[in-house]
Amino acid sequence: MNALIPGLLVLASLLALAALAVARAARWRAGRAAAVDAVAGLLAMPGRYLHDVHDAVLRDPVGRAKAGDTGRAAARMHMLTAGGFIAATALILAVHLFALGGVVLAWLLLAFLALMSAGLLRLYARRKPEVSPRLSRGGFDRLPYAFTAFIVFFAIATLPAAGLIAPFSWASLGGLALLALGAWACIELYVGMGYGPLKHALNGVLHLAFHPRPARFGATTPDSALQPLPATAERLGVEQPRDFAWNRLLAFDACVQCGRCEAACPAFAAGLPLNPKKLIQDLVAASGTHGSDLGYSGSPYPQRPVGSAHGAIDKPIIGSGAMIHPDTLWACTTCRACVYECPMMIEHVDAVVDLRRFQTLELGATPNKAPAVLEELKATDTVCGRPTSARLDWAADLRLPLLAEVEHTEALLWIGEGGFDMRNQRTLRALVKLLREAGIEPAVLGAEELDCGDVARRLGDEKTFEALARRNIATLNGYAGRFARIVTADPHVLQVLGREYPALGGYYSVVHHSTLLAELIEAGRLKPAADDSGRRVTFHDPCYLGRYNGEVSAPRRVLKGIGIKVVEMNRSGMRSSCCGWGGGSTFTDVPGKRRIPDVRMDHVRETGAELVAVACPNCAVMLEGVVQPRADVADLAELLLAAVEAGK
C-alpha cells in the first residue's frame, strides 16, 4: 500500500478530473447544436496541435514586455513541461500503481521529471521576477510552485524504485509533509485541468478536435469569411451563452489567458474598453450558473472596473449591468489580430459578430451613428446616403464605360464607398489611369453597383447584408461571362465579394488592385521609373487584405517595382495593426483614451518614415485624419501612377 500511494494519488486526481470534465461538458452542451465531424476532427487533432498551435506559440508575442518573453521560450517551456508531464503521468501510473518496468522505467520517470525541471526553469523565468502585463495572475502564478512540488514529490517517491535509496514509509512527519505537498501538486495539476489554469490543456485538445472552423487548418489563405446566420435559431444572433454553438463554448473554455490577443488588440492599445482576453474569459464565466468576473486576474477592459460583471448561461450577455458592457462589444474593429495571435485558435471575431447580430437585429441597439448608417444602406444602398448614381461623379471626365455598354472587359472595376469620398477618388483616378496605361479598359456597373454589405454585416445587420449581397449577385450574374474579374481598391470589397458572396451563390474572381498592379509591373505592362527621392517609406497592411485574405506580398512587390525599399513597422504583414476603421467602428465610435489611428501613426513614426503607403480607402482616411505633424499618406496606386508618369 505504501508504494501505491503516489500512483493512487494520480489515479484519484485523474478520476476527479474526469468527473469535472463531465460537468464541464454539460455546460458546453447547453449551447446550440453544431455540425461537427468528430471522427475527422479527432484524427486531425494531433496534426493541428503540432503544426498550427505550435506555429502560433512559436511567434513572438506582440509588444514583448520583458527580455526572453519569446515565442521560442514559450514553445520550449510547453514542450518540456507538458511533454514531460504527460510522459511522467504515464510512467507514474506504470511504476507506482502497476509496479511495471522496474529500475529502467523508474529511471526513465526520473529523466522525464528532469526534463520537466528544464521546462520549469523557463516557467519561472516567465513569471519571475516580473511578469508581462498581458499574462493573467492568480492560479497561473501558483503553477511554478505546483510543478516544483510535483517534481520533488515524485522524484523522491521514485528514488526507491530506481534503486537509489531504500524504500521508506510515508507515515512519518517528513513523509506526511511530503505527501501533503504531492497531494496539493496533483490537485493543482490534474484536478486543476478541470477548472484551473491548466484546463487549457484538456479543453484545448477537445477544441482542436471539434473546432468550429475546421477549414482554417492547413489552409493556404485564412478562413475568414463570416458565416451566415443560422436560419432556424430561436433568436437571431447570440443573446445568452447558450445561443452559441456548443463547440464555441468549448472554444472559449480553451483560453489559456496568455494575453497575446490583448497585446495585439488595437482597441486595447488605444484605451477603448475592449480586451479580447477578458471578453473570452467573460464568456467563459457567463457560461456557468452564477458567473462573475471576480476571479479574473488579467488586465481589465480599459476604463472599466473588474468584479462587477455578472452573467449566466441563460442570461443576456450584453448590457450595462450584464457580463459584457455594450461599449466593449462595439469597440471591436474586427481586425482579426486576436484571432491571428491566439495559440488556442479561438475565433473572437465570430463571437463578436454573433453578439452584434442579436443586438442589431433583435434589439435595434446598435449605438451612435451606426443605426443611421444602416438606415441609409436600406434606403439608398450606400453607406453615405447618396444615390448610387453619384458614385462615379468624380469620373465624369474619365468616361468609364458601363458594363452594360461593353461586350466584355478584362476588369470590372468595383468602385466601393471610396467613390463618394474625395480622398479616395484620387486613388481610384490613379487606378483607372494605371489600368489604361497597361492597356486594360475597365468597365463599371455605375448606378447598378450597390454597397457590398461589409459595414452592415460587421455591425450585425445580417439581413441588410444579405439583401445587398443578393441584389449585387443578381446584377453580377446577369453579366456572367462579360467580365474576366472584379478589381477593387477596397480590401473590404475583396473580402465580401470574393469570400462571403459564395455562400449566397456569387462566385467571382475578385482581385485587389495591389495584386493586379504587381502582376502588371511584373509582366512589363506598367513601366514605373525608380523612385530616387530617397524618402523613407513604410507600408501599412490593411487587415482585410493581410489577415483576412493573406495578401501581404503584392503591395510590397508594387513598392519594390517603383524602387521603394519599405522600412517595415514592427507590426506589419499578417501582424499589422488596425487603422481603426473596420467593423463599423467609425460609426459606433466608442471613445478610448486615444484614437486607434493615432496609435498606428506612432508605429509609423517609429520607422522615421516620411510617407506611409496604404492599400485601402478606409486606412487612407483614418491615417490622414491623424493630426500633423505626421507622415504623408498615399495609396499604392497614387505612388505607382506618379512613378509610371515619371518613367515616360
Partner: protein, 682 residues
Amino acid sequence: MGQFDKLLEPLRIKHVTIRNRIISTPHAEVYAEDGVPGDRYIRYHAEKARGGIGMTMFGGSSSVATDSPAQWWKSLDFSNDKIIVPLQKLSDAVHGHGAALMAQITHMGRRNRWDGGNWPHLVSPSGLREPVHHATAKTIELEDIQRIIKAFGQAARRAKEGGLDGIELSADHQQLIDQFWSPRTNKRTDGYGGSFDNRMRFGLEVIEEVRRCAGDDFLLCLRMCADEFHPDGIDHEEAIRIARFYTETGLIDLLSVTGSGADTHATLANCMPNMAYPPEPFLHLASGIKAEVKIPLIHAQGIRDPLQAARILDEGHVDLVGITRGHIADPHFVNKMREGRLDEIKQCVGANYCIDRQYQGLDVLCAQNAATSREAVMPHQFSKAEVKKRIVVVGGGPAGLEAARVCAERGHTVTLFEKEPEIGGQVRWAAKAPARDQIGGIVRWFGLELKRLKVDLRLNTAADAAMIRAEQPDIVIMATGGVPFIDQFPGWGAAEGLCVSTHDILSGRVEPKANVLVFDVTSLFAGATTADFIANRGALVEIVTPDLHVAEGMGGTTVPVYNKRLAEKDVICTPNTFLHEVYREGDKLIAVLENEYTGRQEERVVDQVVVENGIRPAEALYFELKAESRNHGQTDLDTLFAYQPQPEISGEGFLMYRVGDCISPRDIHGAIYDSLRLCKDF
C-alpha cells in the same frame, strides 16, 4: 455628405457632360492674335482644363460683325470663317483635358469705340450716347437688324464647326441685345420698341437664327443682367420676366445671370466687384431668377473660395458657379480642391489687376500669379532642380516671397531673412486701408506655401553681409524693397519732419491728425487709400495731386470705388496741383500749393502733411556684397527676357541677383514676375 459633393457633381445638359459645377465665365483675355486664338490663348484655357475646371467659357464680347469692333482689346472675331481652324485647336486642347468649352459672342452696339479698325458707325436702338465709351451711335435701321441677326447665326455656325460645346449670347453689360431690352436705351416706336414683346423681339430673332444655324446639338447660353440699378432701366421684376420669356421658348439651354448695368462708371465697377465689395454681392439677384426658370443657371461675381462656392450650390441658388478671376489667379483651383489641398489654392483677392489692364487694352495678367497666360514660358508647377542649391533671399515682400517659393518648389534649400516681425513688405501696409484688407490674402498664401515648402523663414532678422556669408549660399536674391521717397523734393520738409509718408500712417507709426493734406504723386492706390484711411477716422482730408485727376493710375473698375468712398467722406480732391512748400506756423503746418499750369499759389493750414511719392530702392546691402558676388550682382537681361536660364559664371563665391522694388519700384505683379522668371531655372 462630403463638403464638395455638390460642387463636384457632373451636370449633363443635352449631349454635354460638364464634369463639375465650377466654370470660368467669359472674360476678355486680350490675347487673340488677329482675331483668332493663338498659342498663348489656347494654353491659357487649356491650363484651366488641366487644372480640373468643369467648363471654360472664353472670348468675352467676341464680335459677330464688323461694325462691333473688337480689336481694342484683342478679342475674338467671329465674323469670319478664318476663326474655325484656330477654334478647333482650342477645342481639342480643352476637351483633351476633360473640360467643356463655350464662347461668348455678341454685338456691342453703342458700347464700343468707333475710332479705329474699320472706323465703323456704331449702332444702337435709339442713338443715345453711352457715357463710359463716349460713343453716340446711329439709330439702328431694319437692314442693320437683319444683317446682324444673320451675323449671329453665322458666328454660331463657326463656333460649332470649331468644335465648341456651345456659345453664350451676351445680353449683359449693355450689349446690343439688352440695349433693345432696356427702356433706358430703347425709345423706338416701331416693332422693336415700346411694348415688352417688341423690346424682346431682336433678342428672340437672334436666338431663333442661332438655333437654326447651329442645330439642336449645341448648347446655347443667354447671359443677362438681373437688375440694371438704373431707375429708367431693367429692374429685377423685369429681368425675371425677360428670363421667363426666353427660357420658355425652349431654345436656350443655360442662363447666366449677373447683377448691375454697365453703362456708367459707377455701375461698371459693380460688374467685376473688387475687394471693396462683400463676397457674392449679387447672388440674391441670380437666385431670384433661378427660382423662376427651369434651366440650369450660372452666376459669377465675387465667388472666390471653394467653401463659398459649395455653400452657394448646396443652398440651391445656382447650378454652375463661375469662378473666373479665381481661375486667373489659380488655374489649378479645382484639382487642388479635389485633392484636399485647399490651402494651396492661390485665391483671387479682388485686386482687379486683370480687368483693369483689360480696360486699358492691355493683356489680362494676375497681380499675384505671373505664370497665368504665360504658360508657354512660365510654369504653374515645378520640377525639381537637378542640383540642390543653398539660396538666401533677403526681404519678405512679394518679390522675396515669390523667389523663396519658386526656389523651394525647385527643391533648393531656402533661407528667407525678413527684418520685420511679419512677411509681406509693403502689402502689409496696403492691407491696412479700409476695404483693402483682402490684398493681404496674397501674403497669407505665400506664408502657407513657404511653411509647406519648409523655407527657413527668419523673421525679425535684418540680414547683414556677415549673416549672408555665414549661410554659405550658392545664390543670394536681394529683395529688400525700398523706403518711402518723401525726401525727393526739399520743400516737402521731410528732413525737418514736416511731412510723413503713407507707410507711416497705414502702419500706425504715426497717428493721423484732425486736418490732413495728402499729397499724392504716384496716383496709384497708396495715396487714395491713405486719404480714405484718415477720413474714415473722422478727419478732414484734402488730397492733392499734380496729375489730371485723383487716383489717375488706378484702373477703371477700382477708381469708381474711391470716387465714391472719398466723396462720401467729403474728401476734397485737388488735381493739377503741386506741393510747393511746407512750413510750420505755431502748432499748425502751412502747405503751399501751386497750380501746375497757372503757377498760382495758395495756402492751406493743416495739422499734418502726408506725402505719397512711391519708394526709393533700399540698395545698401546689395552694394556691400556686389563686389564679392560672382556676377557682380548683374542679371543677364538677354537671357532673362528670353525666359532662359541665367548664364553659368565660374569662380568663387555666390551669385547675386536683385528682384522687385529694390531695383526700381514696380507693382506686385512686376515684383513677382521678376522673381518667377529669374528663379524658375535655378
